[in-house]
């Protein structure tokens, strides 16, 4: 097996005396959608925050394509090609789609000292990206994010990650508060992202949404990864639910190999 895109080994994270992550091992391969599941407080949020540079880890290592990296800030993670999309927080609602897509990396029209954004170029790219990510409606790129639906906002955030060649797109509860059609839209954006060469981590409370889109399911419980090679095509939803809640240790041992990553 080739070196995975991202590998996290023996990750520990404690908040004071609370141990949020205890020797968590986790990896994502190239061109793979991983579903990260777990009950509230299982540690999946913390794991994602560590990976996106939002919180520093207490100990452990993170490797990207085999190279050890240090993710101290969100911008570090983005620089390493890891983009995290929270439901609302990734975009500026007052700004237009195009201005959000290019925020922080706005193209400048010559002469450079005028510091003038090339708004036409931004609009052209934005229009193209919206099509690519699969937004069917004809939404002008000058529309403010505030007037888009939840699903459309997710699409814009995913489009931005794709455009700036993020290798790994982390989606935290992307289908929360979305209607049925909107959810299907977001799921298809995620598939499009994988098909164009990106990997994704998909976190959702709704297991059915996870099953529809992911290649592999990872389950966390009490700060540890307790299953990391569940094939959604060969496993039932009920079985995964049992692993998440940890009904009985025996059942879990039957279904998984505890705490040992199968790759890397």
């Amino acid at each position: 097996m080739a070196e995975p895109l991202v590998r996290m080994t023996n990750i520990k994270k404690s908040y004071g005396r609370v141990q949020a992550l205890e020797d968590a091992n986790f990896h994502v391969n190239e061109r793979e959608i991983v579903g990260l599941l777990g009950d509230n407080g299982a540690g999946k949020s913390t794991l994602i925050k560590v990976l996106s540079g939002a919180v520093p880890l207490t100990s452990g290592d993170i490797f990207i394509r085999g190279k050890k990296v240090n993710l101290r800030r969100t911008s570090d993670a983005i620089a390493h090609g890891i983009e995290t999309i929270y439901q609302d927080s990734a975009l500026v609602t007052q700004l237009s789609i195009a201005r959000n897509l290019f925020l922080g990396r706005e193209p400048i029209k010559p002469p450079r000292f005028l510091n003038r954004m090339d708004q036409e170029a931004m609009n052209v790219v934005a229009r193209d990206l919206l099509k690519q990510v699969g937004i069917s409606k004809n939404i002008p790129p000058t529309t403010p994010i505030g007037s888009l639906s939840g699903g459309e906002r997710q699409a814009v955030a995913i489009a931005r990650a794709m455009h700036f060649d993020s290798d790994l797109i982390i989606l935290d509860e992307p289908t929360n508060n979305l209607g049925v059609a909107e959810t299907q839209g977001v799921l298809s954006f995620v598939r499009n992202a994988r098909d164009s060469g990106h990997s994704c981590i998909f976190i959702a409370h709704n297991i059915h949404h996870v099953f529809q889109v992911v290649d592999r399911i990872v389950v966390m419980r009490r700060g540890k990864v307790v299953a990391d090679d569940i094939d959604p095509k060969k496993t039932s939803v009920a079985e995964v639910e049992r692993i998440i809640t940890g009904m009985s240790d025996k059942e879990i041992r039957d279904a998984i190999i505890e705490g040992r990553p199968s790759h890397g």
């Binding site: 911008s75 927080s89 990734a90 005028l114 510091n115 505030g146």
Partner: protein, 328 residues
Amino acid sequence: MENRSLIQRLIARPEFGPFVLLIIEIAVFWSINHDFLSPQNISNTLAFTVELGLIALAMTLLMTSGEFDLSVGSLFGFSPVLMWTLFNSGLTSLEVGFLAALLVAALIGLVNGWFVTQLKIPSFLVTLGMLLVVRGTALFVTDGFPQRTWSAEGSWLAEVLVGDFYVGPFRIYMSLFWFIAAAIALGYVLTQSRTGNWIQAAGGNPNAARARGVNVNGVKIGLFILSSLMASLAGVISSLRTSAANPNSGTGYELEVIAMVVIGGTALTGGRGTIIGTVLGILILRVMRNGIVLIGVPGLAYNIFIGAIILGMMALHSWLERRHQAGT
């Protein structure tokens, strides 16, 4: 059809409400007293309008980035006092005194910005504290007395900043051109430049902006400095024009300036700002102050009208905002 959508788009702009209000205001005052549009009255109104306006332009950018500055009124009073004190004591020439005043203002802006961004103290508290420090310093240095200012005659600095000339019957001060230049420059920065995108993002969603690598703190500190510099410049201009440097001048300007900015359609909470709206807001309040006196309403009633305008415009903006959010 095309035409109608153009009109609809015009109405949906945040500047539309203030624009209509200004037209109504002018029409009402003019119909009651025709002197309202006399060259002399227009000249007089404009002279002071642009001085407050310079502060309001900078405040627009600062408020778009999600902060505001209550210390501008005190700087308006302090900077000319500092300049004249340095000059009168023979320490510096008037020009060097002016530069020193600007430098001190920039430093004050830097301190404001540092407290807000590094110590994470709300700008309301930081700049309120700074207001008291700066105003207190101005009063202490001068013992509360105005400074001598009669020796500015013939200084090139005075000519450049407030030199006046006649265009037909209109008396125009150079400060009008500085105001127009500042409005165009800052309007450009806010709507066309990359910096403008960062300013709006810093006010709209600072965490998202930070995650994209935008230096949110740098943007805010820069705008605090700009705000202080503009207040200082406005104070010096006003002092040169009226030949007065009173340590108490500018009292209460901070609130009038913030009112001008929000009436124009800039959001108090940040993320959205408009220079055109601010220019309209400046005119609305100054025309109101002038017109009320001219039509014989007691000047003391001025604040009633200003308060009513602020409330009315806020109601209009919030209504437009909700319509906009609903996508109609």
